[in-house]
């Protein structure tokens, strides 16, 4: 774990320095220059941090559901610990994605919050995470808590895709399109793409490390109590 931690530290530092430090010019000539994206300009730099947090809040949501299913199948409390740890970190990253998005919206759209479809869907995800922890805190008994939380996370996970599907039908979004457009074609400057993907990888590594740490701490707590 020690080596992994050091590599992660160096990696994330490099990502932060590159993402914030590389100059943005209208016509990039050298490899280290980012192109200026019309209407976004310097504000485009937020995508190196905002998109990974949004991605992790979804990843954690799915992981929480998968370990929930594992718990229901094998009834091991370790799986419940894995599921809750993922949900806890998902809540954190979901909050970060909402906050960074709102700050960006303040400077791009002129208001922190305007119920854009993307904002609404991340808000619902935040609500689901909140409901999940509210439910957990209301149940005594580890096994019962684990079972009911797992069931709720599965029910929430099967209804969430509907939400992703229905929102665009009701309202048009002002959110900038992600790097993959409709045809699944990459439309990003190579330098930007490398930094972006490194940031995605770095954040995922950071999430994995935090998750492992949380699982170890909670398992220790569990074994000490028994």
């Amino acid at each position: 774990m020690g080596v992994f931690k050091s590599i992660l530290f160096v990696w994330m530092s490099a990502v932060i320095i590159l993402a914030l430090g590389l100059p943005m010019v209208a016509q990039p000539k050298a490899w280290y220059q980012f192109p200026t994206i019309p209407a976004l300009e310097e504000k485009a730099r937020i995508m190196f941090f905002h998109v990974p947090t949004a991605w992790l809040s979804t990843l954690a949501f799915v992981m929480s559901m998968i370990y929930g299913i594992q718990y229901l199948r094998y009834k091991r409390l370790e799986d419940d610990i894995k599921s809750t740890s993922a949900a806890g970190l998902g809540f954190l990253f979901c909050f970060l994605a909402t906050a960074t998005g709102a700050i960006w919206a303040r400077f791009s759209w002129g208001t922190y919050w305007n119920w854009d479809p993307r904002q609404t869907s991340i808000f619902v995800l935040l609500l689901i995470y909140g409901a999940y922890f509210a439910l957990r805190s209301a149940i005594d008994g580890e096994e019962k808590r684990a079972t009911l939380a797992a069931v709720y996370s599965i029910i929430a996970a099967v209804t969430m895709p509907f939400f992703m599907f229905i929102m665009p039908r009701i309202l048009a979004s002002l959110h900038p399109e992600p790097i993959l457009n409709v045809q699944g074609k990459l439309q990003m400057n190579p330098t930007m793409l490398v930094v972006f993907l490194s940031s995605l990888a770095g954040f995922t590594g950071l999430y994995y490390w935090m998750w492992k740490l949380q699982v170890r701490a909670q398992s220790f707590e569990l074994h000490r109590n028994n």
Partner: protein, 185 residues
């Protein structure tokens, strides 16, 4: 509404949204009781011994469905009578939206009610857990109701109906599998 707004009438979009707010609150106060009453009267054990989990689940689902259809019929009649600005131009869309919306509400409320019956703070937790699950359903129903007030053709609302049917199928299927785990603990 009539008293609060005086002689002014609310826009029809807002009225179709408000109808579903009324339905949501009615469902939240009525449907949460299904499993809680079993716990409070101590009849859960007997039911667990006597009946299959799936039989209990579908029985409760059916009971909730009858209840919500009754409440919704009552609400819709009063709503259309008392709110003058709320005029339905395409009745077929409206009826299908209310019917599918009721089934969807009953489907998600039943499984959440089963979860809530085992928790300590039952009443307050119920809307908290249900709201994010019900939001896609409610938004689609509001959209279909708005289409009905605008006089859209029924073909235009098929996308909404497909969505509602698939939502119901997914929730009922997932619930019928998961109910066994909640019921037998």
């Amino acid at each position: 509404m009539v008293f609060a707004l005086g002689s002014e009438s609310a826009p029809v979009d807002a009225l179709s949204g408000m109808l579903w707010v009324v339905i949501f609150f009615a469902a939240m106060s009525g449907l949460s009781r299904t499993f809680v009453t079993e716990e409070e009267r101590g009849t859960t054990m007997t039911l667990q011994l006597l009946a299959q989990p799936s039989a209990v689940y579908f029985g409760k689902l059916f009971f909730n469905l009858v209840l919500i259809v009754g409440v919704n019929a009552f609400t819709v009649v009063l709503y259309t009578v008392f709110l003058n600005g709320f005029i339905i131009k395409t009745t077929s869309i409206f009826i299908v939206a209310i019917a599918l919306g009721s089934v969807g509400l009953a489907a998600s409320s039943t499984i959440i009610a089963a979860i809530i019956a085992k928790a300590n703070t039952k009443g307050t937790l119920y809307p908290v857990l249900s709201f994010p699950i019900l939001l896609p359903l409610l938004l689609t129903c509001i959209n279909a109701t708005r289409m009905a007030t605008e006089g859209a053709f029924i073909e235009e609302a098929f996308g909404e109906f497909q969505f509602l049917v698939s939502y119901i199928v997914v929730v009922v299927t997932a619930s019928s599998i998961l109910f066994e785990y909640i019921w037998k603990d």
